[in-house]
Amino acid sequence: MEAPDEELMLAYGQGDAGAFETLYKRHRGPLYRFMVRALKHRSAAEELFQEVWIRVIESRSRYAPQARFTTWLYTIAHNLLVDHWRKKGLSLASLDAEDVAVESANPARRAEGREALARLLQAIEALPPAQREAFLLHEESGLTVAEIAAATGTNEEAAKSRLRYAMAKLKAVVDE
């Protein structure tokens, strides 16, 4: 049976580099996609992806499992995202705003090939940041509504509402 994340993180805190490697391999893909899709610029996404792991490494001795490791990891990711958005001049209120411009000219996105999937990806990008984040947290890291609320520092109602709005908008695209 595989060791739980929390145990691995504690082991890493005690100097077991192998534990971190296992942990990293488990979460690298979802966290990377979360960052790449939450942000529209790959270089910024990679920068923040690295930064999340740096913070994990630096917090190794202070880590105390109070929740699932995944929730903790995405809380760090969320905090970095919020700071990134604030630096870009986006206020918290605008993260929930409806009118988010889509950078549809992204060649990587167009290269997705399949039209329907490309449309879905575009629709995800068009979501307001807070809804997009809630959706990605749900899809990529498998967080529940309560965990999304915990990771994003909001209440369950708000998290649920963001997820519901996101789903409704994406449903329209999927049904096309």
Partner: protein, 250 residues
């Protein structure tokens, strides 16, 4: 199949992007470095090496005492050598009892200054010579401070280091991510040492209150720096949206 499941299924059909290997390597290397740099005892005193620590400590103490005595002796020699120059006559008697190796005869006491009316060119010249001597004698002890500029110049070194560290990191940013990680963690260490937060010892709530106060006073740069420090210290702390919004409004 519910709408949610349908969306999830379509989402899973999207490309499963993964981090590039260079990122993996950089992060894993950083994680290994972090646990390797844990401070270890210099020598593990065990078995036959148990005598090592007491002996080393005794050697250090003996050396320290010897150096102190040596320095003290040198200082008293210097004071004695300088003593003849001091003019107060009552002290002169006491000094005469001391053995002072004097390579050249003590300068004869300056003849009584001629009256002001006689103070012509010669007097002015003598004054100039004395002034020059005085300057020389002042320069002599002042020599160490003059030689001191290296430490003085090295005072702003942390700042220079930080700047060069930042430059390096910028260059490193264009290079491999591993180098970037190294530069960033070095920068962070420097920043941690150099810019210890005034609120670091406070609770997270007090720290946030401090940041809020800074914002209220219009010290936005300081507040942003404090917030960045706060995030480093408490990367998973959920700052309530209401507080973040308050920060934004100011």
């Amino acid at each position: 199949m519910s709408d949610e499941q349908k969306i999830s299924q379509r989402y899973r059909e999207l490309s499963r992007e993964e981090p590039p290997p260079r990122l993996d390597d950089a992060i894993l290397a950083a994680s290994r470095r972090a646990v390797q740099t844990r401070p270890a005892p210099l020598v593990v005193p065990s078995g036959r090496l148990r005598w090592y620590f007491p002996l080393a400590a005794a050697a250090v103490i003996v050396l320290a005492v010897a150096v102190t005595i040596h320095v003290e002796r040198q200082r008293s020699d210097l004071e004695v050598a300088e003593a003849p120059a001091s003019p107060p006559p009552p002290a002169r008697e006491a000094q005469d009892n001391l053995y002072v190796p004097d390579p050249k005869p003590a300068p004869a006491p300056a003849p009584a200054r001629p009256p002001a009316s006689d103070a012509g060119e010669l007097g002015a010249k003598r004054d100039a010579e004395r002034l020059a001597d005085l300057q020389k004698s002042q320069q002599a002890p002042a020599a160490p401070p003059a030689a001191a500029p290296p430490p003085a110049a090295s005072a702003p070194a942390p700042a220079q280091d930080a700047v060069s560290g930042m430059r390096e990191s910028r260059r490193a940013d264009e290079a491999a991510p591993q180098a970037r990680m190294e530069a960033r963690s070095a920068m962070r260490q420097q920043a941690t040492i150099g810019a210890a937060s005034a609120f670091a010892a406070a609770s997270p709530e007090q720290w946030l209150q401090g940041i809020d106060d800074l914002k209220r006073q219009g010290r936005h740069d300081e507040a942003e720096r404090e917030l960045a420090e706060f995030r480093k210290r408490y990367p998973d702390y959920r700052i309530p949206e209401a507080i973040l919004e308050k920060f934004e409004k100011r």
